[in-house]
């Protein structure tokens, strides 16, 4: 096939040449996935009583919050008319999957995450509001929301309500990210996206990325604060990462095998794409480097005994590779789904710009922002200190 001057190969419908959703929309499922995954890791301790991961409970919640605050920003920056985005709250179109984003987001932020974090930290916030000075005292006093009762009865109530909120939070986290998968999976016009497996694959990949992210952040923060890493905790997180990753990989392979075996009208087009334009990001980055390699590394730690230092090295490598793999997966879904024509007769190219509104630079800044927020949160609400019993 001939390559046109605009990077088009074969025939595209004339309006299709330009991609509609850019790298900013790649960030959106990547970030919400981290939120949902981090929260589910936190719920392991709270609801499923996996005591070993307790050291990361609070860190996971703060990580989820830091990323959740940033989650709507790439969407907002992408809109042609961001000043009208509030209309989605005022006059949502009920048949639109996208219209539900604001409500699911607000539910998750206001009803689940903030409430759970506040309840868990309330006793410490009250204590700090009494012992801090200056601006910090003012901030902590504000954070108490006027609730300064830290009697044993009140704390028991906090704990009980927090437990219920986590119970509500688990399906909410599933909803948050499964819903993102539905936004793509329900577009019948796009053969790359349209599959009922999409929400499930998104959900499991979210758990994978969230668990890997919290594991890496835990190791990084421990190293930075010169705290010893709780190896029982790290081993347990790595074990969960391995199992969830296995399910995620199996689901993705199921989707792939199904497409190959069924070989419907879109198959030739998608197959060509995977072997050409998406070969590096899909086959090399996502499948080999970002999935099979970290799975193999994690598998080795399950069957062989290594020293703590080696295990830490393996977990860090596997975690980083996992993040690369999950980002590549989001990229391949969002960008890959727009590289081929809906006529199945041609392909276009995505031109990633740098310092433009939807370029690489704002994307990098958007990915740094959650870490700055997390750094502030960790300073304000230390996740590792002994719980204050008043």
């Amino acid at each position: 096939m001939l390559m046109g001057p605009t990077g088009v190969e074969g025939f595209m419908y004339p309006n299709e040449v330009e991609l509609q959703w850019s790298v900013l929309i790649v960030l959106y499922p990547f970030i919400t996935g981290l939120v949902a995954g981090a929260f589910i890791l936190a719920s392991l301790e709270r609801v499923f009583k996996v005591e070993a991961v307790k050291p990361t409970y609070r860190l996971a919640l703060l990580t989820a919050l830091a990323f959740l605050i940033v989650a709507p920003l790439p969407l907002q920056m992408h809109l042609g008319h961001p000043e009208r985005s509030f209309e989605m709250y005022l006059t949502p179109h009920r048949s639109s999957a996208m219209a539900m984003f604001g409500f699911i987001y607000l539910w998750y932020l206001m009803v689940v995450l903030l409430v759970e974090i506040w309840l868990d930290y309330r006793a410490e916030i009250v204590h700090r509001s009494q012992t801090s000075k200056g601006l910090l005292k003012f901030v902590y006093t504000l954070l108490t929301l006027g609730s300064k009762n830290v009697s044993p009865g009140a704390l028991r109530l906090d704990d009980r309500v927090g437990y219920i909120v986590t119970l509500i939070g688990i399906p909410s986290a599933f909803l948050l990210h499964g819903y993102v998968g539905f936004i793509f999976g329900s577009v019948k016009a796009n053969a790359w996206w349209s599959t009922p497996l999409m929400p499930i694959v998104f959900l499991f990949s979210a758990m994978v990325s969230g668990i890997a992210a919290v594991m890496l952040i835990y190791m990084a923060v421990s190293w930075y604060q010169k705290r010893p890493i709780d190896m029982r905790c790290l081993d347990t997180i790595a074990k969960y990462l391995f199992y969830v990753f296995l399910i995620d990989f199996s689901l993705e392979m199921l989707d792939l095998v199904h497409r190959i075996y069924e070989a419907d009208e879109s198959f030739h087009s998608l197959d060509f794409m995977v072997h050409t334009r998406l070969f590096f990001s899909q086959v090399v980055l996502q499948i080999w480097i970002g999935t099979i390699l970290p799975l193999a590394l994690l598998a080795v730690t399950q069957v062989r005994t290594f020293t703590e230092a080696v295990r830490r090295g393996i977990y860090a490598s596997a975690g980083l590779l996992t993040m690369v793999g999950i980002f590549a997966m989001r990229w391949n879904v969002v960008i890959g789904g727009q590289l081929f024509s809906k006529s199945y007769l041609g392909y276009t190219t995505y031109k990633l710009e740098f310092a433009t509104r939807e370029g690489l630079l704002p994307s990098i800044l958007l990915m740094i922002l959650p870490f700055l927020i997390l750094w502030t949160l960790v300073k304000l609400l230390p996740p590792f200190e002994e719980r204050h019993s008043l």
Binding site: F11, Y13, P14, Q20, E87, H93, K188, A189, N190, L345
Partner: protein, 245 residues
């Protein structure tokens, strides 16, 4: 001719003035037949055999609707199919066919033109996904965009199986064929249909029992684009080849 006295002249002139005034008043007061959305259900018919690929329709649409140069509310595709290889047709649409096509060299391939536009689907995927309801279906069956409401999220562009939508580069809102709504509600036809020299594309009012569309649908082999999408497309093609995507 009889000479008129001054008195008779005034009498006749007076009568003339009164009558012409009354006639003018009557004409003015006669309500022009108001457009009622409930009386229409718009679509379009396209006769593939009649299309000569001149591109007049696409050029007329661009001029009528001020369509940005690099985008298309309607366009024409030229198909070439070799033998039985209908799965791999050669398709082209330079500048959306606005400037016509260069003649093909003699070949064994079957070739034909396919005009494309928004299918004004009765169950439009674009309308379904719009998060604020800026894209809507009018009661008379035309899919329209409220420019003052669209947030520019581009979900509708993704959802359209036919590639008929785009984001207006200056307005930053979704743009598409309106079936010349500003014309058809005034009793005119669309700019593309008016410009078509062979009558290959015709505006159709499916609620008008006298509209030739009924005869067209009854007596010809009719197909819509991508029927498997089940969008309730209202652009009906006569003799559409199986190779068309």
């Amino acid at each position: 001719m009889k000479d008129l006295s001054r008195r008779q002249l005034f009498e006749k002139a007076g009568r003339f003035l009164i009558l012409s005034n009354a006639a003018a008043a009557a004409l003015n007061s006669a309500e022009p037949n108001p457009y009622s959305t409930a009386d229409h259900w718009w679509g379009m018919t396209i006769d593939i055999d009649q299309c000569i690929g001149c591109g007049n329709c696409a050029a007329a649409c661009q001029a009528e609707n001020k369509v940005p140069e690099e985008f298309h509310r309607t366009w024409i595709e030229r198909y070439q199919v070799q033998g039985d290889d209908y799965q791999h047709p050669q398709v082209e649409s330079p500048h959306g066919g606005r400037e016509g096509f260069t003649p093909l060299p003699e070949s064994a391939a079957k070739s034909f033109y396919v005009p494309k536009l928004c299918n004004h689907c009765a169950t439009s995927p674009c309308v379904q996904v719009c998060p604020v309801g800026a894209t809507f279906e009018s009661p008379d069956g035309v899919v329209l965009v409220d420019e003052s409401y669209c947030v520019g999220c581009r979900y509708c562009v993704q959802a359209c199986p036919y590639g008929t939508r785009f984001i207006h580069p200056e307005k930053q809102v979704a743009d598409k064929c309106t079936l010349c709504y500003h014309r058809i509600t005034q009793g005119l036809t669309t700019a593309c249909a008016e410009a078509c020299p062979t009558g290959a594309r015709k505006l159709a009012d499916l609620k008008d029992p006298k509209d030739p569309v009924h005869e067209f649908l009854r007596t010809n082999t009719i197909q819509v684009l991508k029927p498997q999408m089940a969008t309730g497309s209202k652009v009906y093609y006569k003799n559409l080849d199986g190779a068309v995507r």
